[in-house]
Amino acid sequence: MSAIIEVRDVKKTYHRGNQPIPVLDGIQLSIEQGAFEALMGPSGSGKTTLLNLIAGIDRPTSGQVIVGGEDITHFSEGDLATWRARHVGFIFQFYNLLPVLTAFQNVELPLLLTKLGKAERQKRVETALRVVGLEDRMHHYPRELSGGQEQRVAIARAIVTDPTILVADEPTGDLDRKSAEEILKLLSLLNTKFNKTIVMVTHDPAAAQAAKIIRRLDKGRLAEETRPSA
């Protein structure tokens, strides 16, 4: 299988005043189509930074990020946005649903950027909500849902556009053990049954067990990958 995500010699340096802070220091990474990878490492090691680069919401200081064969490194702001709408599904630690919208409308939100008609949108939203097991909650507002349910709505929002990759930054970080397990099971299902490529940042070794491959990031460098089951 070919690499769907390729990170070539990526460096990312922040500046605090005149002081350069190297966060990523020459990352080489290749992720296969259909992979489910967990990115682990100590706090401040650059996990979120790397994930953001892969997802096209941030740019490397140097190096290349190639997703689905497209080098997104030099995309304009507008082109990047269009690209993300098409290719990236986001899952955040704090769900980040819009509180003024119902579950249904939150899932529908990214479809507003497509040319799909109302009927087609509705079909897709209902399908996505069925996959996450929340079709009976579609008219609920986020405040009427539990944390685990909110995260499932967020996952439905991430998959409704059928993106090339799913990125999740600590998707279980704010959930109790039981809800976290449900979310991880859901991600595994998306990976195995729907063949979604997933990159997940996590602190939690138990969560990382859900992934097929675990990578460790330390001081801006990637260590050897491991396989949880192996």
């Binding site: 979120t48 941030d58 507008g78 946005a81 269009t82 955040f92 819009l98």
Partner: protein, 385 residues
């Protein structure tokens, strides 16, 4: 769902704040409409003046009278057609604070005002009764006076008790002609005065023919009395009223400035709400941007919110403006009747207020929108964590 629905739902995120802001917008709109209408009404009083009517007054000041003898002299000036005269009576009915205008007029004075309508039979009855009075219908309504009622005024310029019989009611076809004025016979007043106060008038009013050069006529009239003890100043009724009103030009200027200040307040109210609303929603905008929405989408969302909030406020303000202004219209008609024209909201002014308020909404949203549009996604997402 579609984008407009998203905008509306976002605008009503914080319902209390949105409603309070809308009320704030509504109040400023009402204040703006009120102040502008007040100014317009004030000037309308002057606008209504007949173009073909001329007024002769004492050159020194309006409060000084002119000798009655001037009337017959002015009548003979070429170009002068109908001529009449009247004098300001002052005085009050029962309560000095309850103001309405009272004039002692030459019997035919109202005939110079085609916009004033009096039933002929009533006019005849007025002329027959030395103590007769012609009163405006609104004045009659206000005090419940009917034909035949006896009304006693207390004089101040002309001290004493003065009794009149209501003989005629007038209406006016022009909205700006005051309908709360009382007219009575100049001869009744004159005959009651002591010798040295008699035979004086406040102003002479005359008409000039359509083809006549009214400026020339005015010069001829004033020339007649040049170097006399009572020099005159003759001008069109419009100029006369404008001058009378210009006494208040500073007041009007101040009101005009306040009406502009009100708009500044409008912008501040909206800008405050919108910048608060957008600042606490930075993460949401970042999420939308991450999902693929363009900076322009976010800009439009914020501008749209400004538009929706000001639209609600405008609708509320315009809806409430009519009853509020009607309340003040009645109040002013009672207190300031003779000085003000019709106190009615001009639809054009409403359109202007709506346009201004919506523009203010967009203007206030411009900065928050610009900020939201250029936010850095990763920084804004990080903020929560």
């Amino acid at each position: 769902m579609n984008f407009p629905i998203l905008v509306i739902k976002s605008a009503f995120r914080n319902r209390v704040r949105t409603v309070l802001t809308s009320i704030g917008v509504a109040v400023t709109i009402i204040a703006f409409l009120f102040l502008r209408t007040f100014i317009a009404a004030w000037y309308a009083g002057a606008e209504s003046a007949g173009a073909d009517r001329m007024v002769v007054r004492n050159k020194t000041a309006i409060i000084f009278p002119l000798p009655l003898a001037y009337a017959s002299k002015v009548k003979n000036v070429p170009g002068v057609s109908a001529l009449s005269y009247m004098v300001w009576f002052g005085g009050y009915y029962k309560d000095p604070k309850q103001f309405f205008a009272k004039f002692a007029m030459e019997d035919h004075a109202l005939e110079l005002y085609p916009e004033v309508l009096v039933p002929p039979a009533q006019m005849e009855a007025f002329k027959q009764d030395k103590q007769g009075a012609v009163i405006g219908v609104r004045l009659a309504e206000k005090y419940g006076w009917k034909i035949g009622d006896r009304v006693t005024l207390t004089g101040d310029i002309y001290p004493g008790e003065w009794s009149f019989n209501v003989r005629a009611l007038y209406t006016a076809t022009s909205k700006t002609f005051d309908q709360q004025t009382m007219y009575f016979h100049w001869t009744y007043l004159n005959d009651a005065l002591v010798e040295e106060k008699r035979d004086q008038v406040g102003i002479l009013i005359f008409k000039v023919g359509a083809a006549t050069d009214s400026a020339q006529v005015a010069r001829s009239v004033d020339q007649l009395f040049a170097n006399s003890s009572a020099e005159t100043r003759t001008e069109s009724e419009k100029a006369f009223q404008n001058e009378f009103l210009s006494m208040s030009s500073q007041l009007l200027g101040a009101i005009s400035v306040i009406s502009m200040v009100v708009l500044v307040i409008l912008v501040l109210i909206l800008a405050n709400t919108l910048s608060m609303a957008t600042r606490e929603r930075t993460t949401e905008y970042a999420v939308m941007r991450a999902l693929g929405f363009q900076p322009a989408h976010v800009v439009r969302l914020v501008l749209g919110e400004g538009f929706v909030i000001s639209l609600v406020g405008v609708a509320l303000g315009v809806g409430l403006a009519a009853p509020v202004l009607r309340f003040f219209a009645d109040l002013f008609q009672r207190e300031l009747g003779p000085f003000l024209g019709a106190f009615e909201i001009d639809p054009k002014l409403v359109a202007l207020a709506v346009a201004i308020a919506l523009a203010c909404g967009m203007f206030s949203a411009a900065l928050p929108a610009w900020r939201a549009g250029k936010l850095k996604i990763v920084d804004s997402l990080r903020r929560v964590e």
